[in-house]
């Protein structure tokens, strides 16, 4: 029971903090909506999308980038969780977490799940706005996308934890944006299908093919159309496990406090 109380306490705190920072919620929505409404509209003519899995027909560009933008919401929130860890450390509240009689690994992973649930809320709100804008997926697809987004969010959050363990100051988050978020996002299948990338550059295609974010995006893309990509599922699951182990191993408070 102590584990359940600990886990639910951490989730509740993240929710309360999220609720008290409503501007964070809106800014997290504005970014993908701008991409969807402005960027995608501009590129619609330039980038025609042929029939590829899981789509059954030709689709417009907005429809193609919808899963990628969902993954982008999860990516930004996951990385913000690393920022929040640096904030917690600077504010000392990380110490409160670590002096609990629960194993450190459990506490860190509870935080990962708590942040993933917040990410899921944000991505679901984005899907709702996209639906209102006219970019629709099948109804069952939305239900299937929830676990796919949760798993992808957990993968990105554990990666965020590794980064958070090494980032010393809040100011370094700009570096995280430039060296982690943008390369991960742009070198993936979020904005363009991999075959199109291959036409442009073979080495870029290879990087995109091995980027775990690509698999997160594809997992969501397939789930949104009620399909299951086993490859994407296993890559995301195994990456989550690997990043979790690395995050716990690299978390050494004596380097920080």
């Amino acid at each position: 029971m102590i584990y359940w109380y600990g886990f639910s306490g951490i989730c509740k705190r993240e929710l309360l903090r999220f609720w008290s920072q409503k501007s964070r919620f809106f800014s997290a929505l504005v970014r993908p909506l701008l991409w969807l409404i402005v960027f995608a509209a501009g590129f619609r003519a330039a980038l025609g999308i042929a029939i590829i899995e899981p789509y059954e027909t030709y689709i417009n560009y907005e429809e193609y980038i919808l899963p990628g933008l969902c993954a982008m919401v999860l990516l930004f929130n996951g990385m913000q969780s690393s920022l929040s860890m640096v904030y917690d450390r600077e504010m000392g509240s990380m110490k409160v977490l670590l002096v609990s009689p629960l194993p450190r690994g459990f506490l860190l992973l509870s935080k990962v799940v708590a942040v993933a649930l917040i990410s899921l809320l944000q991505a679901s709100a984005f899907l709702l706005f996209a639906w209102l804008y006219g970019i629709e997926a099948p109804l069952t697809g939305y239900l299937c996308a929830l676990p796919a987004m949760l798993l992808t969010a957990m993968m990105l959050n554990t990666l965020g934890l590794i980064i958070g363990a090494w980032v010393r100051q809040l100011e370094n988050f700009a570096g995280v944006m430039n060296f982690v978020i943008f390369p991960m996002f742009f070198m993936s299948s979020a904005l363009y299908p991999l075959w199109k990338m291959q036409e442009a550059s073979q080495w870029l295609y290879l990087i995109c093919s091995y980027n775990p974010f690509t698999f997160g995006t594809e997992l969501i893309r397939f789930a949104l159309y009620g399909e299951f990509s086993a490859l994407a599922f296993w890559v995301v699951t195994l990456s989550t496990l690997l990043f979790s182990v690395m995050a716990i191993a690299s978390f050494k408070p004596e380097r920080r406090f």
């Binding site: 109380y5 705190r13 309360l16 504010m91 110490k95 609990s100």
Partner: protein
Amino acid sequence: MNDSQASVKVDKLSFSYGQRQALRDISFNLSPGITMLLGPNGAGKSTLFALLTQLYRQQQGEIRFADEPLKQLSHRANAKLGVVFQQHTLDMDMNVSQNLCYFGALHGLNASSSLAQAIPLLSHFGLDDRLQDKVRTLNTGHKRRLEIVRALMHSPAILLLDEPSAGLDPAGRRSLMQTVREYCAEHRVAVLWATHLLDEPGAEDQLLILHQGQLLANGQCQALIADHDLQDLPQLFAHLTEEPRP
């Protein structure tokens, strides 16, 4: 509280940050009552707290809680500990009740048990009417009191206070000290109170003087002064550290 539960033994504890030695061969015991840990800034007090709370891993020496090695107890030892860090660790955007429930959850208490445990403590520390207030609206003294309430709400046998009176005016310091003394005497809690202020240790308190990572004195404050043929604690401190008064 069982007195054997409220015991800490520290034996030949050393710790270094790379090449810099922060603690050297520290040995002392804690038992129910207040033990003052006196030392200037940089003496190693916070490092010692980080080792007692397992924020840092032990390098050399041994710590035992209630006669069990801390390394063996691992994270379970934290159930016996209440800690107030030098830096404020409350969540400013949450209210008093939410902060207490969050901490209670981390110690295996549900919300109603957390509040049931905390309300008498809030009353003892003069905060019973602040339950729904945002922590941000509390003054420094009240934040400190709240942190002590939070540290005590799971009924720990050992209370670690790292400069709890920092930032308080003299009246606030006296009042806080008095309230902690009353509570801990009543509940037989072992308290380690770190300070750099020479007027905080009482004549009857156990005293540890830490300087540049070394323990220079360990005993009852009054007895230590008498042993060195001195008049008061500032003289003892200056005598041992050969430094002007902090």
